[in-house]
């Protein structure tokens, strides 16, 4: 009952609006005879920052892969600016960041940053790629580590290169799957802060999968809570806090209120349920 009330207060209309960049309608995914995602409706407007949060096994990573075109939905449809996710990815509209930076150890930071771009657009010269790599490293705050190899970088710095690599494609959407999950709390904070700055500077649409309630509230404009068995969206919450946000946000009474609210929603989402 309590979940229902919260959802009623915070949910966004499911119908697709004009400025929606990403829209998923009735997306279900069946993998090895298991219903991983059930009837997902999602609409994300251009320039928004949306987080997907939920317990392990709720299919939030799978949903991100569906949006990225890496997993085909068993039923339902996804469109990104009117294109299928695979078409959108081929047009360099999708930037991906995973928990592991997955940098190539034989390339330095600049070449790693421009690695995907070099494959997406083979007409670019080495000099163009370098220039773009440098520019992206500057954007993520790694301008002076351009020539370092991955093993000379810290975990946070490696993840910054991974973000630069995604941004180098100049994508419309940045899809991030627990990008800060392997980092320590302090690094995590500063990475979140940098991500907000990058978001505000570039105007990208960001979809972030996270485990962290703090992170979801801190960074995003909307949070979708997902539940398990089957994986589904159990509730959504608008984070009305104004940007720019920084770490002092945590002392804001509204932040605390949202934290409690989201925690309650998450607790309910841990219980397996049917279509409700």
């Amino acid at each position: 009952m309590r979940v229902e009330t919260i959802r009623a207060a915070g949910s966004r209309p499911a119908d697709i609006r004009h400025d929606d960049l990403i829209s998923a309608k009735g997306v279900s995914v069946v993998m090895t005879r298991q219903l991983v995602l059930q009837n997902i409706d999602l609409s994300i407007s251009k320039g928004s920052f949306v987080s997907l949060i939920g317990p392990s096994g709720c299919g939030k990573s799978t949903l991100l892969k569906v949006l990225a075109g890496l997993v085909n939905p068993t039923s339902g449809s996804v469109s990104i600016a009117g294109l299928s996710p695979v078409e959108a990815a081929r047009k360099r509209m999708i930037g991906l960041v995973f928990q592991d930076a997955n940098l190539l150890p034989w390339k330095n930071a600049v070449d790693n940053a421009s690695m995907l771009l070099s494959i997406a657009d083979e007409s670019l010269s080495r000099a163009d790629l370098r220039a773009c790599g440098h520019e992206m490293l500057e954007l993520v705050g790694l301008g002076d580590s351009a020539h370092k190899r991955p093993h000379e970088l810290s975990g946070g710095m490696r993840q910054r290169v991974a973000i630069a690599r995604a941004l180098a494609l100049d994508p419309a959407v940045l899809l991030m799957d627990e990008p800060f999950g392997a980092l320590d709390a302090i690094t995590r904070d500063s990475m979140g802060q940098s991500l907000l700055e990058i978001w505000q500077r570039t105007g990208k649409t960001i979809v972030l999968v996270t485990h962290s309630i703090d992170e979801a509230i801190h960074l995003s404009r909307h949070v979708h809570v997902m539940g398990i068995k089957p994986g589904r969206i159990t509730g959504s919450l608008d984070i009305g806090l104004p940007y720019p946000r920084d770490l002092s946000l945590e002392e804001d009474p509204q932040f605390v209120r949202l934290l409690v609210q989201l925690r309650t929603m998450l607790r309910a989402s841990h219980k397996p349920g049917g279509a409700s």
């Binding site: 892969k65 990225a68 075109g69 890496l70 990815a89 081929r90 360099r92 999708i94 991906l96 995973f98 928990q99 592991d100 997955n102 190539l104 150890p105 034989w106 995907l116 494959i119 997406a120 190899r149 093993h151 494609l169």
Partner: protein, 271 residues
């Protein structure tokens, strides 16, 4: 509480000097020297006949006396090893690339490669002599069948251990299988490949000697066989010593190559 000082003691001990000593060549050199001294002493004290176990001094005399012959044989064997080793690397890499790039061909080829690996290669030596005569060719063939396998296997392991999410990234921008192969899988496999190459270097030495045993008129394997029929055991040992030197030489050459080709490999990262 009581076991805390013990922990501290055991931790402080290796820090004193053992690490520095065991890390150097010194212990190995001391053990080698001690072995030679004991060997010499035992042979002299028990008056063991030179054709059963020659003393190190006798081996050294033989080495000096037959220096010209031995050097000539060493050059021949070294040539076989080098040639066979390079052919093994090229063929081993080619097989691995084909298996990874062409899925259906890989599924056909891989079980056969594994099956072939279980054939005792040494037993092929007489057949190779029959087919290719007494020259260089049967030795190269034998080295190839003995040494290509670790190259293929290690490179395959490296190419197939690329992280899935990295492949996802590549796929999302529409990378072709060939692009993924040459820009990700092959460079990613190089540290593994170099490890396989070092094993292949050692196996190449064995292949060359076995090839010479089966039929040759030159080389260290031939010298070993000839000398043993003459009961010139000192010469056998002298030739064995040179075979070992060759083996070590090729192994370290492969190691130097490794440092040049894969300076990013994990084992060098923190050196």
């Amino acid at each position: 509480m009581s076991d805390q000082p013990v922990t501290n003691l055991s931790e402080s001990r290796p820090a004193l000097s053992w690490g520095a000593v065991t890390g150097s060549w010194l212990p190995a050199a001391i053990l080698l020297l001690a072995t030679i001294v004991v060997w010499e002493a035992v042979v002299r004290i028990f008056a063991i006949s030179a054709f059963i176990i020659p003393a190190p001094s006798e081996i050294a005399q033989s080495l000096v006396a037959q220096w010209g012959t031995l050097m000539q044989a060493t050059l021949v064997t070294a040539g076989e090893i080098l040639f066979g080793f390079l052919v093994s690397i090229v063929v081993g890499i080619a097989i691995a690339l084909v298996i990874v790039r062409f899925d259906w061909l890989g599924r056909a080829l891989y079980p056969l490669v594994v099956l072939f690996q279980n054939v005792p290669k040494v037993a092929l030596a007489p057949i190779f002599i029959l087919w290719f005569g007494y020259g260089l060719a049967p030795k190269i063939g034998l080295i190839l069948v003995i040494a290509f396998f670790p190259v293929t296997l290690s490179m395959l392991a490296g190419m197939q251990s690329v992280d899935r999410s990295l492949l996802s990234l590549m796929n999302s921008v529409g990378a072709s299988p060939t692009q993924i192969l040459f820009r990700i899988r092959v460079p990613h496999s190089l540290p593994n490949l170099m490890a396989g190459t070092k094993i292949a270097a050692t196996l190449s030495v064995i292949g060359a000697i076995v090839g010479e045993f089966a039929g040759a008129s030159d080389g260290l394997g031939y010298v070993i066989q000839f000398a043993s029929t003459q009961l010139d055991t000192a010469l056998v040992f002298a030739a064995l010593l040179l075979v070992s030197v060759l083996g070590i030489g090729f192994y370290y050459a492969a190691e130097v190559l490794e440092r040049i080709i894969v300076p990013w490999a994990p084992k060098f990262s923190h050196a």
